[in-house]
């Protein structure tokens, strides 16, 4: 029941808010978003408070939804909401659905290169911020070589360095044999195998590249890679590590096929990983 009271600020009599209607709660990273519908009768609510159970942790806002932060990831919570104005508080709503906040990860998207219809000689990330601990490049790739019908190599350069400052070791499974290779004093790095025109249409290689401690200025830079192509009867699975013999922080990365261009729909996404 609404009760008339006098607002202490304006001397105007308003009702305390009527209880809102609870909506859906949605889990976030160490938080939850709690939706509700304001009451259409009674006094206006100037703010809304969502209350967690367990923990009695609150979040406040003026519109729906309200975010409740500081929740424990992996714990199941429900929420109730009440409205507030200078005359007082409404009752709390009934409990929301239960949600389990997720772990707050430090894996952030920096930039993505998607190759358009004209193809591209390379994909490049520049002005990479030094604010992360590690970098990861994820993608799918295919190239358009002069002589189609084979698997080609993915190459990379850091900071535009074309000197003989790269080394690598890799082990590759061809489907019939496992082979290992190494190279020293290379003028660019190797980053796995790439599907080309002439191999089953619409088949793209996939790869995940980790570049560790990329922003330090006192160590050489190590990359590790899982990459491969399967084309239903041909292909390679590829494990690699490589080294860039420079103590400079990595601020740009260029990825290109060893011949030809990247084909349309090839995509490279750069992520930053932060350690606590």
């Amino acid at each position: 029941m609404a009760i008339n009271r006098t607002s202490p600020k304006k001397g105007k009599i308003i009702d305390i808010p009527t209880v809102p209607t609870i909506g859906a709660a949605t889990a976030g990273a160490g938080s939850a978003s709690v939706a509700f519908t304001p009451a259409t009768v009674g006094g206006p609510a100037f703010s809304y408070t969502a209350l967690s159970n367990p923990g009695s942790i609150t979040g406040t806002g003026t519109t729906s939804p309200v975010t409740v932060s500081g929740l424990t990831s992996g714990t199941s919570y429900t929420f109730t909401v009440r409205g507030t104005n200078p005359s007082g508080n409404s009752e709390y709503t009934s409990a929301s659905n239960s949600v389990v906040p997720v772990v707050a990860t430090d894996f952030e998207s920096i930039a993505t290169v998607t190759v358009g219809g004209g193809g591209a000689a390379y994909a490049e990330f520049t002005s990479i911020p030094g604010t992360f601990t590690h970098l990861q490049i994820r993608g799918i790739h295919r190239n358009t070589p002069t002589t189609p019908g084979a698997f080609y190599a993915i190459k990379y350069q850091y900071n535009g360095d074309t000197g003989s400052n790269y080394t690598y070791h890799y082990i590759v499974g061809t489907g019939s044999a496992a082979n290992a290779f190494a190279g020293t004093s290379q003028s660019d790095g190797w980053a796995g195998v790439c599907t080309s025109d002439g191999i089953t249409a619409s088949v793209y290689s996939a790869g995940v590249i980790d570049i560790l401690d990329y922003a330090n200025t006192n160590k050489y830079k190590t990359m590790r890679l899982l990459n491969g192509t399967d084309a239903n009867g041909s292909g390679e699975a590829f494990f690699m590590s490589s080294l860039w013999m420079s103590t400079s922080a990595i601020t740009s990365i260029k990825l290109y096929p060893n011949t030809g261009n990247w084909k349309q729909y090839s995509q490279f996404a750069l992520y930053g990983i932060k350690e606590a």
């Binding site: 994820r138 088949v203 996939a206 390679e236």
Partner: protein, 168 residues
């Protein structure tokens, strides 16, 4: 920059189950990552992945692995026109066979879908697998089962978590 690596769903088996399926997967991410830690009756099985419940012979895979059953050297093999992407396991009721399976650009409708997987088991094997699903449809469900050796089930306490990664 937004946090972009998010858990979508997690399953811990309370009883033996033939197949675990993550369905109604949103297309709002760029890649999917499935982290599995399965248990099962002891034996050599394939931990098999199917997409969109496709049971046709539309899969293939190439592996690179080294395990205790091989003669001191890593091997590579492949299979074509299979009805799932296989990761060779030596599973047991107590020692899981953890695998991380990456499904790249899963929601595009222009390319076949490539999978990358690595499956270490510290006391037995290490392996990498690249798989292919010859279909350009967006992936909306991922299923995991044990194949080979009869009616193998994924055992109680097996865990499966699906993550989504969104790019800028």
């Amino acid at each position: 920059m937004a946090i972009t690596y998010e858990p979508i769903a997690t399953t811990t088996l309370g009883s033996a189950t033939a197949t675990v399926t993550f369905s109604s997967i949103s297309g709002s991410y760029t890649d999917l990552v499935l982290v599995t830690n399965p248990l099962g009756s002891a034996g050599n099985y394939d931990l098999g992945i199917r997409l969109n419940s496709d049971t046709g012979n539309n899969y293939s895979w190439t592996s690179l692995r080294f395990n205790s059953d091989d003669s001191g050297s890593p091997i590579s093999d492949r299979a074509s026109n299979t009805n799932y992407v296989a990761m060779k396991t030596n599973i047991s009721t107590t020692i899981p066979f953890p695998s991380i399976i990456q499904i790249q650009n899963y929601s595009n409708s222009t390319t076949n879908k490539s999978l990358l997987a690595r499956s270490p088991r510290g006391d037995y094997a290490v392996s990498a697998i690249v798989g292919l699903w010859r279909n350009t449809s967006a992936v909306t469900s991922v299923s995991i089962s044990l194949f080979g050796g009869g009616s193998a089930n994924l055992a109680v306490n097996s865990t499966f978590t699906l993550y989504g990664i969104a790019s800028a």
